[in-house]
Symmetry: C2
Subunit: 181 residues, 2 copies
Amino acid sequence: MTGRRDPEGRRRAIIEAACALIPEVGVGGLTHRAVAARAGVPLGATTYYFATLDDLSRAALAHAARSAADGLRAWRQALRAGDDVAATVAALTEEYLADRDRALTETELYLAAVRRPELRPLARAWFDGLVDLLGAYADPGAAEAAAFLIDGALLRALSDQRPLDTAGLATALRAVLRAGA
Amino acid sequence: MTGRRDPEGRRRAIIEAACALIPEVGVGGLTHRAVAARAGVPLGATTYYFATLDDLSRAALAHAARSAADGLRAWRQALRAGDDVAATVAALTEEYLADRDRALTETELYLAAVRRPELRPLARAWFDGLVDLLGAYADPGAAEAAAFLIDGALLRALSDQRPLDTAGLATALRAVLRAGA
DNA sequence: AATGTACTAGTACGAAAGTACAAGTTTGCC
DNA sequence: GGCAAACTTGTACTTTCGTACTAGTACATT
């Protein structure tokens, strides 16, 4: 009755279901039952693969964080190709925001890390990657400031559900990136 | 047996208990029982003053948002007194962050507003007040960018539990505020 | 003083949760 | 084929929750 087995696939399905749920209900709103229902697996499956709910949310957040950080590879390429760093970064930020769920999950991660120290490295991955990336085009302090700017703009766009002012962001990025340490 | 009555005071005590709890457990982690215990009132009192848990968290977040926005009055005065706008704002940001619970609650509010549209005006109060304030020293676009920068830096400091790089923030603020629209 | 309204406080109830578990099934290995 | 380990699945147990409710107490108004 069980059809074909696929433990790896099941584990992934559970993680992906959790990732899909986090933007809807928040990290704290996750439940074994909701994840199981979304993944189309019985309740027992989620507890079999993840001993506790914390394990499950951690795995989901780790998956999301890795996927977000991986997206920075595309940024690197685009920056190499484009000539206007500030405008390119602003456009990439807008593009990043287009996947609202992913951006929201990343923000959920930021806040979850406040109360769960083990999540802190995950919560730093995207930001650190961004600073590292921008470090090729500005001094470290300016790169960090540009990352602050990007995260601040993203947070506002998410919370207000308003589109990003890409041109304005590009102007600000240009100013920050030009500044010396 | 009930001692002296003080409905207003009780209501406030409940709200303040909820505000104290939000940084610890998050908005989603609030429960009638935890709030009642923290406030030192029986369970029935929280449901008497707030019909639902949403009402309670909304009242608490409104209180926190108002208190944060009120804090901007001090910013206005400090800016009038100081001569270096960027350095003053950076110092004020660090000061703001010193009350970690308040800053954290504000961020919780940002995220809560994503799923609860009725909270959106509250979530905008602090940011809008900041932009309005900075508008006296830069054009609107630059003021908004500076607010992004501040919020981004705050979010990072909260999530990473790392101190603010005040000097670096001042440098970035100076660059952004100088930039034209 | 009486009287109705606002408030208090303890309890109760149904729903939903995390987690544990037992019994059965598939799979890889000899 | 036989066997142990991995996996599946449904259910059950306990806790905790939101909310409702009842019986009573204080207070303002008359």
